[in-house]
């Protein structure tokens, strides 16, 4: 999976870049209009960090992605970096490199905890409102002993639904805090970018392995 993880992350980078203007537009409605640009810069940074990485073990790959995200700066760079570093730490603790549904669920749960402490509450219309449903879906899948493909499909749907649901929320933290009612009706850009990333990762992981 680790070669696949690198590929999956690169696919996510490409999808983020393709969504640049769309994510900026979401951020313009309820923030400062830069989210798509910041994520595109982050995608470049992640790609650069991955290119420098000799080995392909998952912890290292995730850590490289975290540094790439951090390099983009902004609120979102710090949030993603913190979340990904928590994932990397959990992978570090893992006994085997074999990805299991339980390990995935546990790692994403750690990310949700790590990024939950930055001032936003669930319902505040942030990335957390996509990340926490994602973590919950993975925990449910682990508890239900679902297969990896089934788990990933549910994860994808959970992140997407979580993001979509932010449209009904009113922004309370970050730069869009004072937008209050003006932010209703638009999806939170951070939640939207997370859904894009999850979708790319899942799609890549589910793709049947072909010749290199």
């Amino acid at each position: 999976m680790s070669r696949t993880l690198r590929d999956a992350i690169l696919a996510a980078c490409a999808d983020l870049e393709a969504a640049r203007e769309a994510l900026c537009l979401l951020d313009a409605t309820s923030g400062d209009g830069d989210h798509g640009v910041t994520m595109a810069i982050a995608a470049r940074g992640v790609r650069a960090k991955l290119a420098q990485l000799p080995a392909d073990e998952p912890e290292g790959v995730v850590r490289a992605a975290a540094l790439g995200m951090a390099g983009a700066g902004g609120t979102i760079g710090a949030v993603y970096a913190r979340g990904l570093l928590a994932v990397a730490a959990r992978l570090h603790e893992a006994e085997s490199e074999m990805p299991t549904v339980a390990l995935l669920a546990s790692a994403v749960y750690r990310a949700a905890i790590a990024t939950g402490g930055l001032g936003a509450q669930p319902g505040d219309k942030t990335i957390l409102d996509a990340l926490q449903p994602l973590a919950a879906a993975l925990a449910d899948a682990a508890a239900a002993n679902l297969s990896m493909p089934e788990t990933l499909a549910r994860a994808d749907a959970a992140a997407r639904q979580g993001a979509d649901a932010t449209a009904d929320m009113v922004a309370r933290v970050g730069r869009s805090a004072r937008f209050a009612e003006r932010s209703r009706g638009t999806i939170d850009p951070g939640a939207a970018s997370l859904a894009i990333i999850v979708h790319a990762l899942v799609t890549s992981a589910l793709r049947p392995a072909g010749p290199d």
């Binding site: 400062d32 830069d34 710090a78």
Partner: protein, 332 residues
């Protein structure tokens, strides 16, 4: 799409920095990637690090130099610098007596500077923080800690920088920076939008005859969107909001510094007309304007509009405001 004189949007900040350090080589140098340091590091003294997203030039790089900041951490456009940049700036500013981090109160800046501050502590560098919160439109009185920082940044940088330069210790520099921040109150008005390079469209839209009072320096929403009015009426609304806030904070009319800051596209002709109106309005309310600044201090790319900042003065703050400085923006 707004027209810009840039190349690839992804290169804009780095190319700007290249130009900046070449243009002002006598004052600054590139201390690390995305870190502007003084050409000749000073010290031993308390270090002052300023910083934030790009697009607010001359903030933050224009405040690096003798009498003000030791280093500026430079983020992407409207995005806080990453923690690694903040840490490099702290290192560049440190000469053993501790470092003050001064920046506008935005989530991204807080996250990244806080992390850098922890990392610096692990290296033995003591950091303290002042989050600047002068924008009265960004949260109601009583919620000052939620407010954003706008053009008041330049006053706080100047006061803290002057205190550090004369040799005050870190506690004292922090105390004075906090006093300066508490003494500031600002409000902006936007007439036309800016555009983040690469975003493909302006950050917001205003009708052909609209303005927004209280808008933030990234296009954050303000207090009221209304029809474009004569400058005196717009200023009346702006100063009115500042004075309501001063009253809520029980600040009595007194001596102030008055800053009229252009957001980017607004002509000096307009800025001086705004200054005139603001000064008259403040004087009519019993305030005494004893220092004045008119120009671009904290911009929002090519946004059209202006902000008004007052800083209450006493002898302590006045001396620091008047102290010599030789940065690209401030030459006193």
């Amino acid at each position: 799409m707004l027209k810009k004189l840039i190349n690839d949007p992804f290169d804009a900040v780095d190319e700007m920095l290249e130009g900046y350090v070449d243009a002002h080589a006598g004052i600054v140098r590139l201390a690390a990637p995305r870190v502007i340091g003084r050409a000749v590091p000073a010290g031993p003294k308390v270090g002052l690090v300023v910083g934030g997203g790009s697009g607010h030039e001359p903030a933050f790089l224009g405040y690096v130099g003798p009498g003000v900041a030791d280093a500026a951490a430079i983020g992407n456009v409207f995005a806080a610098p990453g923690a690694d940049i903040c840490l490099d700036a702290i290192r560049a500013a440190s000469s053993g007596r501790g470092v003050l981090l001064a920046y506008g109160n935005y989530a991204g800046d807080v996250l990244n500077f806080d992390l850098a501050s922890e990392l610096a502590a692990a290296e033995g560098i003591t950091c303290r923080t002042i989050r600047i919160t002068d924008d009265v439109a960004s949260a109601p009185p009583g919620h000052g800690e939620l407010r954003r920082g706008i053009a008041g940044l330049s006053f706080v940088f100047k006061v803290a920088g002057a205190a550090a330069e004369r040799g005050d210790d870190l506690d004292e520099v922090v105390r004075l920076a906090e006093r300066a921040n508490a003494a500031c109150a600002s409000i902006g008005v936007a007439l036309a939008a800016c555009e983040v390079p690469g975003a493909g469209r302006p950050t917001f839209e205003l009708g052909a005859d609209e303005l927004e009072v209280g808008m933030g320096i990234h296009g954050e929403p303000g207090l009221q969107r209304g029809k474009l009015e004569p400058a005196d009426a717009v200023v009346e609304r702006m100063v009115g909001a500042i004075l309501v806030d001063q009253e809520a904070r029980r600040v009595a009319p007194g001596e102030i510094a008055l800053l009229v800051n252009g957001l980017g596209a607004t002509a000096y002709l307009d800025l001086y007309i705004v200054y005139r109106a603001a000064r008259r309005r403040l004087e009519a309310a019993g305030w005494t304007v004893s220092r004045s600044f008119v120009g671009e201090y904290v911009t929002s790319l090519e946004m059209a509009g202006a902000s008004i900042t007052i800083m209450s003065l006493d002898d302590e703050l006045l001396a620091l405001l008047d102290a010599p400085a030789r940065t690209a923006r401030l030459s006193i």
